[in-house]
């Protein structure tokens, strides 16, 4: 892994279209600015990881556990 030191307002370029700048540093938190073409999607890694974990959990489903929604709902009262 390439490790670079940057100060506030300094940037790195990834290729010739993606620019990442250090906007602010406070304590243990770094604020980054990212300019990239719209086709490049930028997400926090935790979002990806959370969805991956949820999918792995979802894939464990036992087919016999799949209920019918109607069976789970409380029966509507008839007047």
């Amino acid at each position: 892994m390439l490790v670079l030191s940057r100060k506030i307002d300094e940037c790195i370029m990834i290729g010739d279209q993606i620019e990442i700048s250090v906007v602010d540093i406070k304590g243990d938190q770094v604020k980054l600015g990212i300019s990239a073409p719209s086709a490049v999607k930028v997400y926090r890694k935790e979002v990806y990881q959370a969805i991956q974990r949820e999918n792995i959990e979802a894939a464990r489903v036992k087919p016999s556990a799949l209920p019918s929604l109607e069976d789970l709902l409380p029966k509507e009262k008839k007047d």
Partner: protein
Amino acid sequence: MGSIRVLTKAYGAVEVDERQKLLFPGGILGFENLKEYVLLDAAQPPFYWLQSLEAVEIAFVLLDPRVFRPDYSLEVAPEELAEIGLHSPEEALDFAIVTIPEDPKEMTANLQGPVLINRAGRLGRQAISTNPRWELRHPIMKELALARKK
């Protein structure tokens, strides 16, 4: 177009129309190596199964989020739609993946990572919602009960 024989986690071997076959070029997050799926009606409506054609034990329960969230709208980046040849959210067939814990009443739907399908192109993709209102675990039964009260 003929029918194909598919091994499913839920129903064993079944014959399905070849048009139910979907290619997920990027896979599903956490299962990036699995690209081919079929979409099947579950025996328990309104659920569907997204069954992997490459690993029989991998199948996801899908649900149209509007079933329990009438206010739901698909909010994803246009680039995510373009990846599977779609131009607007209205063109997508979209689902939430359902997680069913031990007590099925506690089942949740993932609206943060909606599954998008281009029906005509038979392509699929798991996108990431651009609206933080749509979360990883929506309690289906609670929200369904709320929707019915209104």
